[in-house]
């Protein structure tokens, strides 16, 4: 790879030692002299470029202990906890590789920003509770010396989940589990609902669960910027580029039943720069796949899923991008300041946005209605036909609403059981996953980041046990499924 000498770089080094300017005003035209000399040398020796100090400032470092693929919320969270939990200061060198520094398609920035503990799996509830306490104490966790404190714009208005007759029993048992784990959730009957929120039409609602504390919504962009600032101040390297190749080595080993197993270890990550063919091979010890909606491509690069189907080698990472729409509308007679994040029996949800009678919401499409995930174009007909009727049924005031704007974002959708994948891969020994959260990544990011960091630094999950989220379950066929309507 021919590296060009940037005359600027070389020239600047010589310029700092100018004697002329120190004496004050006596100019030797040093720049001109240097460039003349270089031209003379080049003309004398044609064909060879003077390759003394090529400029590599845009490239990532050549060695890094941990390479995190994906600089969204999950990737930054893992980087933060790795640096926080390392036993010696500067003990681990971490590199975060992000393809798009404007985060234009990243799920974090396009998210609705809700946090809620109303899950059925205890692990999910604990993750969400920890995230709530992380957000509450954000200025202790993410304090950077010269920067002003973060304001996450958190709305503690809670989440209200509505259940029809057939889901009521499941909701009751879920609330019991949630209360056991320490979430502050209460059940409400349709009468109590009408009392508290007179703008709801309780037709078809048998039961509702209302989260009173630690639930609501916040600004994910602010969290991302705050994390990024803190992580940079802790000494993590950032690089804008795309991972195009993994160089790995394999070892054949025999199990106790004399079966041959091929274990792979990734040695190098090739990071390609934007708009050029230039790439940098980064030697690494551990790779973390936090690429969100594009995690499957990264996993395929590492050879995960290349094998006969039905075997462990042939089990692909079942995460794919799914497009979801969010619509913002204005409704002057709509529900008041106390409105929680309401999730209807039909799957439609909405919440207030700001003080000015604006609301935002959407609905998850059914499997047949899934939109094409190749781009982030918004389908406005989807709102007219599939979202508005349900909203207008539940909240009669929404019959007269006016859509202001809309956007689309990706879920890193786990097609197997819609829950995250966390932890190492059984065959590619040094690749760790932190992806596949299917719409819950934002509220579980701090907890998952800490879990992955513990796994790497201490070998096992220490605070929250996420063993049911390991990759093995895809091969064994054991689904860790949520049975809520969220």
């Amino acid at each position: 790879m021919i590296r060009r000498v940037l005359p600027h770089g070389l020239g600047r080094g010589l310029l700092t030692r100018r004697p002329g300017t120190r004496r004050g005003g006596f100019s030797l035209d040093w720049d001109g002299k240097v460039s003349e000399i270089k031209k003379k040398i080049k003309s004398i020796l044609p064909g060879t470029s003077c390759d003394l100090l090529p400029d590599t400032s845009h490239l990532p470092p050549e060695h890094s202990d941990v390479v995190i693929v994906g600089g969204g919320l999950l990737g930054l969270s893992v980087a933060y906890w790795l640096k926080k939990l390392e036993s010696r200061r500067g003990g681990i060198r971490v590199l975060v590789v992000e393809r798009d520094h404007t985060y234009s398609q990243a799920s974090t920035g396009l998210s609705v920003g809700g946090i809620c503990q109303q899950f059925s799996l205890p692990e999910n509830i604990q993750l969400s509770l920890f995230s709530a306490s992380f957000l509450r104490n954000i200025n202790e966790y993410l304090a950077v010396t010269n920067a002003p404190p973060l304001d996450l714009q958190f709305n503690p208005s809670g989440c209200l989940l509505l259940a029809s007759e057939k889901d009521a029993a499941a909701m009751e048992s879920n609330v019991k589990v949630q209360k056991q784990e320490g979430a502050k959730v209460c059940l409400m009957s349709p009468d109590q609902l009408r009392n508290k929120f007179p703008w709801i039409n309780t037709e078809g609602v048998a039961l509702a669960s209302y989260g009173m504390e630690n639930e609501g919504w916040f600004d994910p962009w602010c969290l991302l910027q705050g994390l990024r600032q803190k992580v940079e101040s802790m000494g993590v390297f950032f690089c804008q580029g795309e991972v195009t190749r993994f160089v790995s080595s394999s070892q054949r080993m025999l199990t106790t039943d004399d079966e041959m197993v091929i274990l792979k270890r990734i040695h190098e990550v090739h990071v390609k720069m934007d708009h050029s063919l230039e790439y940098q091979p980064v030697e690494c010890a551990i790779v973390i796949n936090a690429a969100g909606a594009w995690s499957a491509q990264i996993a395929a690069l590492a050879g995960i899923g290349k094998g006969p189907p039905g075997t462990l080698q042939g089990t692909k990472l079942p995460v794919e991008p799914r497009k979801r729409y969010v619509y913002v509308w204005h409704c002057p007679q709509g529900p008041g300041l106390e409105t929680p994040l309401v999730a209807d029996t039909s799957g439609a949800y909405f919440r207030r946005e700001g003080l000015g009678s604006n609301y935002l919401g959407g609905r998850s499409p059914t499997e047949e209605e899934e939109p094409d995930p190749t781009n982030l174009e918004v389908d406005h007909d989807f709102f007219q036909e599939k979202v508005w009727p349900h909203l207008a049924l539940r909240v009669p005031a929404f019959e007269t609403l006016k859509v202001q704007t809309a956007w689309a974002g990706y879920y890193d959708y786990n097609t197997f059981d819609q829950n995250g994948v966390v932890g190492p891969h059984p065959l590619v020994v040094n690749m760790y996953f932190a992806t596949g959260f299917s719409g819950h990544g934002l509220q579980q990011a701090p907890g998952v980041g800490r879990a992955v960091a513990e796994m790497i630094l201490q070998g096992s999950f220490q605070t929250i046990d996420l063993s049911s989220f390991l990759f093995n379950r895809f091969y064994l066929g054991e689904k860790t499924q949520e049975n809520t309507t969220m």
Partner: protein, 256 residues
């Protein structure tokens, strides 16, 4: 306090930071006379690791002082009952307590208070004046022991924020008066979760710097709590009245 130390104090920095402005990367330009000393301290911090470490250490120390003040006193509940435990916490913080049919108990300027309240084990606490105290989210554990509290004054508390307000709902049956005047971290998002307090008769939300639109917030809070008298903001102050313009909001404020 001397001016250079002011910029290290947790409280002063929080005030300047939470103006409710949505910003990316935290690049807020400081205004006014704080700019010079800020720049000097910032300059030193950016160029010397020692200064950065010292500032980080002082910040951590401030935070742990606040944590110490808000440690849990719930172990006192077995011996002396919930009312005395809660009252002890408030008095230790520097606030004042009023038991039912008794006088206000206040600590003097040295922080000493009379131990007579240990005898009032069965007497519920009616009113708490925790103004200027450093109560935060964890400290509310102790405050929520006082189940029959009727009046709570949290004026100018520097660490009371929206998360704390979301924790006040257990007092909904008894709380009738709440004052949040001058709290620098309370915004309209925290005021939204006061709708649980249906017995509230008087709410003071004056002088909240983090609320973006005080007039509109006052109207929305009055709509949310129809039986409550909401004090503190003149709702017409945020409106620009032209010669033919009418006030825009459709609701009319209902005063108890």
């Amino acid at each position: 306090m001397a001016a250079p130390w002011l910029s290290l104090r947790l409280v002063a920095r929080m005030w300047n930071g939470t103006r409710g402005i949505h910003r990316l990367g935290g690049a807020v330009v400081p205004e006014g006379n704080q700019k010079k000393e800020r720049t000097m301290l910032q300059f030193l911090t950016n160029h010397f690791y020692d200064v950065e470490a010292l500032r980080g250490y002082l910040l951590q120390r401030e935070m742990s002082k606040v944590h110490m003040k808000n440690r849990s006193f719930t172990w006192l509940e077995e011996q002396h009952g919930p009312y005395c435990a809660g009252a002890f916490f408030i008095l230790k913080q520097g606030g004042a307590v009023k038991f039912r049919d008794k006088e206000w108990i206040r600590p003097d300027k040295y922080g000493h208070f009379s131990p007579e309240f240990w005898n009032f084990q069965e007497v519920p606490v009616e009113a708490v004046d925790a103004s200027d105290c450093e109560i935060n989210y964890e400290g509310l554990d102790n405050l929520l022991l006082l189940k029959e509290l009727q009046s709570l004054l949290l004026q100018r508390c520097p660490h009371v924020d929206d998360w704390c307000l979301s924790r006040l709902y257990p007092l909904a049956d008894s709380l009738q008066e709440l004052s949040l005047a001058g709290c620098p971290r309370v915004s309209e998002r925290g005021l939204a979760c006061l709708h649980h307090l249906q017995n509230l008769r008087r709410l003071d939300i004056s002088d909240l710097p983090a609320v973006s639109n005080p007039g509109l917030t006052q109207i929305l809070v009055e709509e949310m709590l129809p039986n409550c008298k909401v004090v503190g903001v003149d709702w017409a102050e945020g409106l620009k009245l032209g010669p033919e313009e009418q006030p825009q909001d459709t609701a009319s404020p209902v005063l108890a």
